[in-house]
C-alpha cells in the first residue's frame, strides 16, 4: 500500500513538473502570437451588424464613414475599447442611423464572448503544446509509472524530495509576479528535473526500441509503436490538465504518507 502511495506521489510530482513546462511553453507562445484581437474584431463587427443592419464591408465602403475605420489596428486594442460611451460614438460614426439601444447589455454579452473564446483557445493551445511535447519526445506515462513502481530507490527520490521541490516550484510560479525572474527560476529547476527524469523518455527514437516484453524474439515493432504512441498520447492529455490539479493531488497524497501523517 505504501509503495502504491509513493508511486502515486512520485507520478503526480513528475506530471506536475511537466504540466508546469506545458504552461510555460503556452505562455511563451501566447506572448509571441496574437490570439485575442480577431475575437475582439469579430465581436465589434457583430455589434455593428446588429445595430446598423449592415455588414462590416458595407459600412467600411460607405463614403461617409471616416477614413480611420478602414485602418483600425485591432492588435493594439483590448476589450477596454468596448465601453458603452465609446461604442455608441463609434457606431454613430459608422452609420448615423445606427440603433444604439441597450448598448450596455449588448456589450456585456460581447465582452463575455471575447473572453470565453480567448480562454477556450488558450486551453486548446495548452492541449496542442502538451500533445506535441509528449508525443515528439515520447514521454510515456506508462513507462514512468512502471519505472517508479518497480524501482524502490527511484520511487523514494521522487515521492519525497522531488514532490517537495515540485510543490515549491508550482507555488513560486503562481506567486511570482516578475515574468523574467519566473522564467529564469523555472529554467534552472526544469533543467535539473529533465536530467533526472531520463527514464521513459524517447524510447521510440532508440535504434532498437525496447518493448515491455523481455524476450527479444517477441519484440514486435508494431507493439512497441502502439504502446509508445498511446502512452505518449495519454501523457499529453494528462499534462495539459492544469498544474493546480496536480498540485492539489500531490498535497493530498503527501498528507497520506506515514511520515507526514505523524507530523
Amino acid at each position: 500500500m505504501l509503495s502504491l502511495i509513493e508511486t502515486l506521489t512520485g507520478f503526480a510530482a513528475i506530471m506536475m513538473m511537466l504540466s508546469l513546462l506545458v504552461k510555460t511553453l503556452t505562455s511563451v507562445i501566447k506572448n509571441q502570437w496574437d490570439y485575442y484581437s480577431d475575437n475582439l474584431k469579430h465581436e465589434v463587427q457583430r455589434l455593428a451588424l446588429e445595430t446598423t443592419g449592415k455588414s462590416w464591408e458595407t459600412l467600411v465602403q460607405n463614403p461617409t464613414a471616416p477614413d480611420w475605420v478602414r485602418s483600425i489596428d485591432w492588435e493594439r486594442l483590448g476589450d477596454e475599447f468596448l465601453t458603452p460611451a465609446y461604442m455608441s460614438w463609434f457606431l454613430k460614426q459608422l452609420d448615423q442611423n445606427a440603433r444604439v439601444s441597450d448598448i450596455d447589455s449588448r456589450l456585456k454579452i460581447h465582452v463575455a464572448s471575447v473572453k470565453y473564446t480567448f480562454e477556450m483557445r488558450m486551453k486548446n493551445l495548452a492541449l496542442a503544446v502538451g500533445l506535441a511535447l509528449c508525443l515528439l519526445l515520447n514521454i510515456n506515462a506508462f513507462t514512468i509509472w512502471k519505472s517508479l513502481y518497480t524501482d524502490q530507490q527511484l520511487r523514494a527520490t521522487f515521492s519525497s524530495s522531488y514532490a517537495e521541490k515540485a510543490t515549491r516550484l508550482a507555488e513560486e510560479q503562481a506567486n511570482q509576479k516578475d515574468a523574467d525572474a519566473k522564467l529564469k527560476n523555472f529554467q534552472t529547476s526544469m533543467r535539473g528535473f529533465l536530467t533526472d527524469v531520463g527514464f521513459g523518455i524517447g524510447r521510440i527514437w532508440q535504434a532498437n526500441p525496447p518493448s515491455d516484453n523481455a524476450d527479444p524474439k517477441q519484440r514486435a515493432p508494431i507493439r512497441v509503436f502502439v504502446y509508445e504512441f498511446f502512452g505518449s498520447l495519454l501523457t499529453g492529455i494528462l499534462v495539459s490538465i492544469a498544474a493546480p490539479y496536480w498540485h492539489d493531488l500531490l498535497q493530498a497524497l503527501a498528507s497520506l504518507r506515514p511520515d507526514k501523517a505523524k507530523t
Binding site: Y35, D38, N39, K41, H42, Q45, R46, L47, L49, E50, T51, G53, K54, S55, W56, T58, R99, S101, D102, S105, R106, I109, H110, S113, Y116, T117, F118, M120, R121, K123, N124, L125, L127, A128, L131, A132, L135, L136, N138, I204, W205, A207, P209, P221, I222, V224, F225, E228, F229, S232, L233
Partner: protein
C-alpha cells in the same frame, strides 16, 4: 451550400484523406530519401510513422482548437435587423445572414 463552401468542404475532405494516408505512405517512400535504419537519417519505418502521426495529431489539435477550422458559431437569426427594445430583458445579440466570419475559439 454555395460554391465557396463546397470548395472548402472538398478541401477539408482532401486534407483528412491525405492525413490518414500519410503515416502509411511516408514510411514506404522514406528510404528513397535516405531515411532508413543505418541510412543518412537513421530512422526505421515505425519511427517515421510515429513522427508523422505525432506531428499530425498535434497540428490537428492546434488547427481545430486554436486555428480557423473550428469556430464558435452562435445560433443564426433569420433576419439581420434587430428591433429596438423598449423594456424587459435585452435580446441576446446574434448575427444575421451577412454576419462576419466567426473567429477561433473551438471547443
Amino acid at each position: 451550400m454555395n460554391k465557396f463552401e463546397t470548395t472548402r468542404f472538398r478541401l477539408k475532405i482532401g486534407f483528412v484523406v491525405a492525413a490518414v494516408l500519410l503515416p502509411f505512405v511516408l514510411p514506404l517512400i522514406a528510404p528513397f530519401f535516405g531515411i532508413y535504419a543505418g541510412g543518412k537519417i537513421s530512422l526505421s519505418g515505425i519511427q517515421v510513422a510515429y513522427a508523422v502521426l505525432s506531428s499530425e495529431i498535434a497540428l490537428a489539435v492546434y488547427i481545430w482548437g486554436v486555428g480557423n477550422w473550428s469556430r464558435f458559431e452562435p445560433p443564426r437569426f433569420s433576419s439581420a435587423s434587430s428591433t429596438p427594445q423598449t423594456g424587459g430583458a435585452p435580446r441576446p445579440p446574434g448575427p444575421g445572414p451577412g454576419a462576419p466570419p466567426a473567429p477561433q475559439g473551438g471547443h
